[in-house]
Amino acid sequence: MEMKVQEITVSLGRRVKRTILDSVSFDVKEGEFLSLLGASGAGKSTLLKVIAGITVQDSGSIIFDGQAIDHLAPHRRNIGFVFQDTRLFPNMNVEENVAFPCKMAGMSRKERMERAHTLLECVQLDGFGNRQVTSLSGGQQQRVALARALAAQPRVLLLDEPFSGLDEDLRDDMRSLLLRLHRDFGTTTIMVTHDAVEALEMSDRIVYISLGCVEQDGTPMELYAQPQTKEIAACFGDCSTLEGSVSDGVFLASSLQLAAEGMADGPAEAVVRYQAVSLREAGVDVGHHATRRPLLIRCSVYRGDTHLARVDVEGQTLTVPAEQSFIPGMAVDVVVDDQGYFIYPM
């Protein structure tokens, strides 16, 4: 199904109105896996609830296949929703939970039991139909919730941080299960997450939301390679943020200088990915490096596969992966790969 989110605005709070979403718009293509990425409190979950019809927007529209569905209550929208806390009904067993949406859709008992059986097989839980939901582990519960959401062949599958309650090793299994289901069923899917790496791994497209506004809308590669804001650049982790200023197309923080072509003069911030930086012993000349004069090592930490050297940039820290550990106080020159840093005006 094709979906449009048009200028959705939501403010909540009885006395003090707080704007949660401010004119959010984007499109979702047929069969696409879209992630809503952003820090917690950015309004992603609220947006998902607006799409589901649980929260009513102040203005704007949700359009399914060219038809506005703003007047429809949640149960008439034919959606699947997976909550972070699963919300399996404790008064029903696993099978009844999965069959519930089919029952609501008016399927016969035999039909919906068959459907529940098929879906439980899809999530590798065949034989669990008669179990009580409270007897399941967290991962199993989440799989039942997924099966239940897909049972009535929803037009769109909405997932609200579906894996954040699970252990790390389970999360990978669940991710591949979800991707497989998405491939098999082809259901248009929107997933809310604050885990940027998860979003990169799973999505066809990512919409980045910050403080209730869309900051960037693009493929995972676009977001990683051309982040539009400092927050997006930093959200993938393993990066240093340095404050400085731009003059004549060059960003300068202490003696570190980075090319900033086409940027207006003034204070600016640079986000530098760890992997884009390497160290040279001071004085050894290897072509161009980014430092006017050598910087000092503050300390170095061990991280298993690599060492991380913390370089002092006038009180700020630039972190650099290194083969070996460095002695504090050592003078170094820094080389920065021009694909691996981003500069934004402050």
Binding site: H75, R87, F89, M104
Partner: protein, 297 residues
């Protein structure tokens, strides 16, 4: 080693210290009830009687006025409990649906909770007695002609005056007891059911209500036991015959003849027995909820 042992002992006796005052008070309560029941068996040591006899219980069960009273009391309390349950569910659901503010809850729940049953009896008298507001209204509408034309609620054998008092009090009580749970369940599971295609009404009946069953059962048992065992309202608004059981029991209790006292206690014993069944049901619900909570963790 020694200080450790001292701490371990202290930690082990803490709960017993915490429950002691409650045990003493509940002990007094149980003593009172058991003492009453024993007096029904003719055991009254303070009068030098220690022989156990079933005479009073047999007498009670054979007396027509007792059986009529038992029937009447059961009718009053069961009707009140069932109607209060239905009304309580509706009120609780309405409060949940409109996400009631504190002010709404104050007026719809807190004020009835705070008002004594005896005052509610006064309300009923002011509204529905022969010269109450309601007959006046009917008179103005031309539906009755005179003061006496409206059936009095005082002394009516149908007991609907009594039942109305209980409903006025206990519908908000049941809502008070269940609204918090219902709001929680509805915002969690009701919402999930909505996204799965259930209409509000359907998700209420298939998910929210079943999940509130425990609290609703407990609340209605309390209402039943209260309506069954309270003296004030049937005394004020009840008919001369049949008397509600507590009224009958107190009448016999006040009789100077000590034999009547034993008879009163036999009535109390039977009342206690019926309420014990309610208590057992309550306890079973409590145990089931505890198990569910445990398996949740």
């Amino acid at each position: 080693m020694k200080p450790l042992k001292a701490r371990r002992i202290r930690q082990r006796i803490t709960p017993y210290l915490l429950v002691t005052p409650t045990i003493i008070l509940v002990g007094v309560f149980v003593y009172g009830v058991v003492n009453g029941v024993l007096q029904g068996f003719g055991i009254m040591p303070f009068l030098g009687r220690t022989e156990l006899t079933l005479d009073y219980y047999i007498e009670a069960l054979n007396r027509n006025d007792f059986l009529a009273s038992l029937n009447y009391s059961l009718y009053l309390s069961l009707t009140s409990a069932v109607l209060a349950l239905i009304g309580g569910i509706a009120l609780s659901a309405a409060l949940t649906r409109v996400r009631a503010s504190r002010t709404i809850q104050l007026f719809n729940i807190q004020i009835p909770l705070m008002t004594a049953h005896t005052i509610v009896a006064l309300f009923l008298v002011s509204l529905f007695s022969g010269s109450g507001l309601f007959p006046r209204l009917l008179y103005w509408l031309g539906m009755i002609d005179d003061v006496g034309a409206f059936p009095s609620i005082i002394g009516g054998a149908s007991g609907w005056g009594i039942i109305l008092v209980y409903l006025w009090k206990e519908i908000p009580f049941i809502a008070f007891y269940t609204a918090t749970i219902m709001m929680h369940v509805s915002s969690r599971y009701g919402e999930a059911a909505n996204t799965l295609g259930a209409s509000s009404l359907r998700s209420f009946f298939s998910v929210t209500l079943p999940l509130c069953r425990g609290a609703l059962t407990k609340a209605s048992l309390i209402v039943f036991a209260f309506a069954f065992g309270s003296y004030e309202i049937p005394f004020l608004l009840g008919p001369t015959l049949p008397k509600a059981l507590p009224v009958l029991a107190y009448l016999e209790f006040q009789n100077p003849d000590i034999l009547n006292r034993s008879y009163a206690m036999a009535i109390n014993g039977i009342m206690a027995l019926i309420c014990c069944i309610a208590a057992l049901a309550y306890f079973l619900v409590l145990q089931r909820e505890r198990k569910e909570r445990k398996s949740d963790d």
